[in-house]
Every structure is written in C-alpha cells, then in structure tokens.
C-alpha cells in the first residue's frame, strides 16, 4: 500500500523555496533513510510529510487522501514524529511523558485507559526503559532521553514513524540500540522514515535511501545502488571510497582526508 505520494511538490519558508519539484512514493513497510548535505531540505521534507508546513505547490497524499483533508487528531493517531529536540522540558516523569503519546487516542476527560497503560508498558519494555519509569525526564542522559522519546512515539503510533536525526549526538551504544529498535519495528510492519547524518548506519539498516541535494531528489534506491562513490562524491562534493561491511554486506562510505589525497 502507498503511504505517501508526493507529486511535483514545492515547499519552503517565507518565499525561500527549499524543496523543488519532489515526486516520490513511500510504501508501507519502507525503512527509508534520507541523507544529504546540510541545507539540502531533509528536515523540510519531514515537515511536509508530518503536515507541519504546507507545500507552496504540488500535492501530498497520505493513504489515498490529500494530507490537508485529515483532522490533526486523525493524523496524530497514525503518524508519530520524533523531532530533533524538544522546545521545552518540564519535570514530567518518564511514565507521565509517555502517556502524552496517548493524547490523540483519548477522550476529552480520559486520563488513562487499560489500553493506554498496556501500550505505555509495552513501549517501555521494548525500548528497555522500564527502570526509568519514575525518573524525571530532565534528569536523564542524552541517550536515555532519546530512548524515552522513541518510546513515546511508539505509544502514539506504530504505523508510520518519522524521525529527524534520532541518533545525532549519541554514542555508538545508544545509536545502535535505537537503530535496532527501529529495525525491529520495521520488521513488524512499521513504516519508518528517518533523516540520518551517518551514511554507514543508514546503509546497514535502511532498505531504501534517498539522497537530497539542493532541494531535489538526487538518488533514490536500495543502499547498494545509492551508495556508490560516484553518487556520494557528487552528492556531498567530497572525495570518498566505498567498501563493503563484512558483516552486513552493505556498502560503507569513507571520506578521504586531504593529507592522503596525493
């Protein structure tokens, strides 16, 4: 099934066009990694998909209907978004914070149904944060907090999860934990769309990679087709070599430092 269909889409902010003529189909079960240099429009593309900015022209269809025709609550029940950071952090406990993910599913006065409770507990188990349940989110480490935010998105929706740089600033242990969880979710049927800066992690986990350059789709395909040195050198304007990861058999990209370029 087609989850998203973008047709000749242009989008931007205050007259500055960031995305140019994007035509794209995202299917159910995709594990899509979006890569590209800073300023290429990766975050903007996510904002379009999560209906946070309206395209200036072109169309975006979510599950067969124009995304603008959905009520916010209906979208929130199906699409969970993990932003780069929270605007403000209140001293909520981890458990209370996760319950906010249930907001679009609840009635006006409902505080916590049986279903809410099991969904929260399941999300905590899956992300391994049960022991953090009563801690305040402001007191957690960066890695723990990111795990909590992933868990919250699971309480909200497992259908479509959109993440903006979920592992930037995390150590390799937390990075791999988060990517493993996303992989497991994808195996169980979730559609995952994520912007990543680490090309090699993208290659190891994603089934499909889109390279954005100056607001347009530069390459789109499985890691083996996208991550060739010819593509990456043009995409990032950087000299690279590509090897295969001996375990995952996926291509790995290594930029070449200036002092060995001779």
């Amino acid at each position: 099934m087609k989850i998203f269909e973008l047709q000749n889409l242009n989008a931007g902010y205050r007259g500055i066009r960031v995305l140019h003529d994007i035509t794209l189909v995202i299917n159910e079960g995709d594990f899509l990694g979006i890569i590209g240099p800073n300023g290429a429009g990766k975050s903007t593309l996510l904002k379009v998909l999560s209906d946070n900015i309206t395209p200036t022209s072109g169309s975006i269809v979510f599950k067969g209907s124009a995304i603008g025709s959905y009520r916010r609550r209906a979208l929130a029940q199906q699409i969970a978004v993990v932003h780069q950071s929270l605007e403000n952090i209140l001293p909520f406990t981890v458990y209370d914070f996760l319950r906010l993910g249930r907001f679009p599913h609840q009635m006006l006065w409902e505080i916590e149904s049986h279903e809410d409770r099991s969904s929260i507990e399941q999300a905590m188990t899956m992300t391994g944060i049960l022991h953090l349940s009563n801690r305040k989110i402001g007191e957690l480490s960066g890695g723990e907090r990111q795990m909590v935010r992933i868990a919250q998105s699971l309480t909200q929706s497992r259908e479509v999860i959109i993440l903006d740089e979920p592992i930037t600033f995390l150590d390799i242990n937390h990075s791999i934990q988060i990517m493993d969880i996303l992989y497991k979710l994808n195996q169980a049927g979730s559609t995952i769309i994520t912007v990543l800066h680490d090309i090699n992690t993208t290659s190891d986990y994603c089934s499909r990679i889109i390279g954005l350059k100056e607001g347009s789709i530069f390459v789109d395909g499985p890691p083996e087709d996208v991550l060739t040195y010819q593509n990456i050198e043009v995409l990032y304007d950087t000299v690279c070599v590509v090897y295969e990861n001996p375990l995952t058999k996926k291509p790995q990209v290594f930029p070449v430092p200036a002092h060995v370029k001779e």
Partner: protein, 325 residues
C-alpha cells in the same frame, strides 16, 4: 500521596483564612460569634458589617485570586515560559487606560469596570491579531504585549499629566488593586461567569500538558490552532474580568502557579485545581493583611501582593538556587 497531604493542608488553610477574613477588621467579631450572628442576629451592626462589607469583599478576593492564578497557569503553558503571566500580554495596561479614563471623567464604579474591561479586551484583541500574523508563537505574543504595554502606560501617564491631583489619586488607588468597592450588584455577574470560565479551562488540561513541551510537538500529537486560540481567550478573559473588577493586582498569576507547580508537580489537571484554590486563599489573605495591618488606613491589596509576592519570589530564588524553573 504527598500531593494529597498538601491539598488537604491547602483546604484547611483556606477554611481558617476565610473565617479570619470574616471576623477581622476595624471591628473584631470572634469566630464563635459568627455563626450565632448568621443564624439570628439580622438587625445588629455586626451582621451588616459581615453581610454587606466583609462577605462580598472576601468572595471577590476568592474569585479574583482563583481567576488570576488559573490565567497565569494557562499563559505559562502557552508561552512555554514560567515567568509569563496575564500582564505579560498587556492586559494590565489596557485595563489601566480604560479605568483611568473613566475615573478622571468622574464616572462611578460600574463604568470604571466596564471601561477597563472594554479597553483590555481591545488590547488583547490587538495582541492576538498582531501576533497571529507572526504565527502566534510565544515570542511574538510577549513582544507585542510588551510594546503595547509601553504605549498604554504612557497613555495613562499622559492623562495623569493633564488631570487634577484629586482625580489622579483616585485613579492611582484603582491601579493599585482595590477590593474595597466589592458589592453584590457587580459581584453577582462575576460569581456566575468566572467559575464557568475556570471550569472551561479544565477541558484543556491534557492539551496544556502537551503544549508545554512545544508547539510542533503539540501539533504532531493532534493539538490544533483552534485549541491554542481557545486557551488564549480563556486565559485572557479570566484576567480581563478580574482586573476590570478589582484593579491591577500583580504577582498572583505568577507566584501561585509557581508554588503549586513545586508542591503538586507540572501536570495541569492538578495544577489548575491547586492554583485556583491557592490563588483564592492567597488573595483573601493579602486583603486581610491589607485592611488590618495599619488601621485606620486600608492598604490596597495590590500593594500587599507586590510586597509578599516579591519577597517570597526572591527568597525562593536565593534558597533554591537554579532549581527554580
């Protein structure tokens, strides 16, 4: 558990202060005598003092205190800023200008309140329209509010500069926040409307939790622009009605939510209820202090809240250091 103890304590304190508020004043009427008076003492002077002066004044303090505190809670969530309060967006400035015009024109209490209400509703409307053009974010709200406040307070000072001293004094008393004019006629309307609006704010208790974490965060959880606007108008109306009736009583909308957040945590269902009770009792207490501390003078309640609120806030900052948030 801790919350329940605090809440029981809060209710107990409220009861004690309510009784004190009725018995203390220029004439002391002992609490034990209160009940006797209310059952069969209808012709006595004490009965008149209680029913015509102290009771309406106490009820007004309860309502205004609750409304200002809840309004503060809502504005703090909307602006993601624990230092936001009803007056940040220029509500006080608007009310001050309207009331000053009415006072210097020699109009009576009803018209002062009416002018204040119209003028601050227009101010809120202006802040709303101007900031909506810039996305209705916290920064645009605060900046527009501050800019308008300057213009409005200059307007008040301009009127003062062109008016006789006696009228200026009268207007100043109003600006300081004054509960001495509380009478049943105007109180009835307030008593009907304010609790309803406070109840309406409870419809949004979960929205407020979500909004506090950020606008994009809230949007992706299903909070709409209309929800934001409704909360804004609920908060504004609470403050506008209070200020129009009782003058500019500062610090309540800031200090009460702050203390309640410390006692009951950041979740808005508890926070709104606790702030309503806490704000109500704080204002009754401040008014009680104001009218008993320096007889024969009655010190306007706004001055008392300013002193108590300011000192309390400073001590909190000093003792709790950076944990104040």
């Amino acid at each position: 558990m801790k919350g329940k103890i605090f809440f029981t304590a809060l209710i107990l304190i409220t009861g004690i202060i309510l009784v004190l508020s009725l018995s203390m004043g220029t004439t002391f009427i002992s609490p034990s005598k209160l009940l006797a008076l209310l059952t069969d003492g209808e012709d006595t002077v004490e009965y008149l003092i209680i029913m015509k002066l102290r009771l309406p004044r106490t009820v007004m303090a309860l309502l205004v205190g609750a409304a200002l505190s809840v309004s503060g809670v809502l504005f703090q969530a909307l602006m993601k800023n624990p230092l936001a309060e009803p007056y940040t967006i220029g509500i006080s400035g608007g009310a001050a200008l309207g009331a000053t015009i009415a006072v210097v024109s020699g109009l009576d209490y009803f018209y002062i309140a009416l002018f204040a209400f119209i003028s601050c509703t227009l101010t809120v409307l202006l802040v709303y329209t101007l900031s909506i053009r810039r996305g209705f974010g916290p920064t645009s709200l605060i900046l527009t509010g501050i800019a308008l406040s300057f213009i409005l307070s200059s307007g008040v000072l301009l009127i003062f500069a062109m008016t006789r001293a006696q009228q200026v004094h009268k207007a100043l008393l109003w600006l300081m926040g004054d509960l001495s004019l509380a009478r049943y006629k105007t109180l009835g309307l307030m008593a009907a409307i304010l609790p309803l609006i406070i109840a309406a704010s409870l419809f949004y208790f979960k929205h407020l939790d979500v909004i506090s974490f950020g606008d994009t965060f809230a949007k992706n959880l299903g909070v709409t622009r209309r929800d934001n606007r409704n909360i804004f108008w609920i908060a504004s109306l609470l403050a506008a009605i209070s200020v129009s009736m009782a003058g500019i009583i500062g610090f309540v909308g800031l200090i009460v939510p702050h203390v309640m957040r410390f006692l009951f945590g950041p979740i808005h269902l508890k926070l709104i209820i606790a702030s309503a009770v806490g704000g109500a009792v704080l204002l009754v207490l401040c008014d009680l202090v104001g009218r008993t501390i320096a007889p024969p003078y009655q010190i306007p309640v706004g001055i008392v809240t300013g002193f108590i609120g300011g000192i309390f806030f400073l001590s909190l900052l000093i003792t709790r250091g950076d944990r104040v948030q």
